[in-house]
Symmetry: C2
Subunit: 219 residues, 2 copies
């Protein structure tokens, strides 16, 4: 083989190797993207009033709270990185593909069991991605779950305030159906206290109205 033929062969092999690596990564990413489709079949207790009061699925819920965060983030008194918050909210429920959705007001022992299932789900589902993205998204999900950083606390607050808004416009919605108490809703929405005082004040007023209307037990 001549020297120039060798060079051509070498550069072709190098191109093929590089191209093969790219396609391998891309295929992993596409597997993950297709897997996401399954979140559209995970149903929550929340009701979609504008679609015949059917149950809401976790994919459309994730869309809704990501936009809610965008609209409301200026109420936060600390600096929220809205891009990170949106990413967190878009991925926060993906683990439900394996673990299912658990009602917000379920028993504490069920919460513990659910947490274990969700960790396994995060490993499997984010694990479909190439290493770097796997680590990125798993870390982001863990940050959301721990709810220690400002971004994660604001994201949690959005995840929790939206069902309140939905229930208030739907005769108590899932609260009324499950006989939920005022104190439970206050507890769930406490991320707003301090972080977004105006929203917190609004939420407290809404909870009082819900009690007056008989949608929440006064406990």
């Amino acid at each position: 083989m001549t020297h120039s033929a060798e060079l051509v062969l070498e550069s072709t092999l190098s191109f093929n190797y590089h191209f093969g690596k790219v396609m391998e990564e891309l295929n992993k990413q596409l597997d993950f993207i297709i897997e996401l489709d399954r979140l559209k079949g995970v149903y929550r207790q929340a009701l979609v009033k504008s679609d015949k009061n059917r149950f809401e699925n976790s994919a459309e819920h994730s869309w809704h709270i990501s936009l809610t965060a965008q609209i409301l983030h200026e109420y936060a008194v600390e600096n929220v990185n809205i891009s990170r918050v949106m990413s967190m909210l878009l991925i926060h429920d993906i683990v439900e593909i394996d673990a299912g959705d658990m009602f917000a007001f379920a028993d504490i022992k069920d919460h513990k069991e659910q947490a274990d299932k969700e960790i396994a789900a995060a490993n499997r589902i984010f694990g479909l991605l190439p290493e770097e993205q796997y680590l990125h998204f798993k870390q982001l999900w863990l940050e959301f779950e721990s709810a220690k950083t400002i971004d994660a606390r604001f994201a949690k607050a959005m995840d929790r305030v939206l069902p309140l808004l939905q229930n208030m416009r739907n005769d108590g919605g899932s609260w009324a159906r499950h006989n939920i108490a005022k104190s439970q809703v206050i507890e769930r929405n406490k991320y707003l206290e301090g972080l977004a005082p105006q929203l917190w004040l609004y939420v407290c007023k809404q909870i009082d109205i819900a009690v007056d209307k008989g949608w929440l037990r006064n406990e």
Copy 2:
């Protein structure tokens, strides 16, 4: 009235005025957020394979492409602002609340009529928001629609590539049901050409496979 009593009164009035303005803005924002719920009742031609092949709604679709953009944006050869792209994709279909979804491969004259309906919808729906946010989101939506900037072109590409991925994993999905031609799918996905050559190459290969399988007409 003493001077100090006057000061207290003045500061109370100022607080009430300010608080009233904040609550007025917040109420507008919450009206918008609640209005978004209706996008969950707008159904597209795409099928959700993992949920008994029911039709997909535009809210869950918006969630899915926002995440798809996050996973794939590194394939763009020009610099994509992924935060703007995500925002665009989260809002791009909101106009369908009033205008309805139109199938991607509908007649050209239907597209013109749809465009008029969507402009009116953008004015009404984004118009629920306070002025500054109204202008921000309407501008972002117009940028997406015009598909001139890098961010908008990448966002459009994501909106169009996902149905291809879904159809390829679902025996041709909406293509097969509507007897779509190869040239139509190529035309719709052209935003990728030049902008993300590796994705474009992948898409072209998939289209050829779809023709071989009989899911797309070879025209």
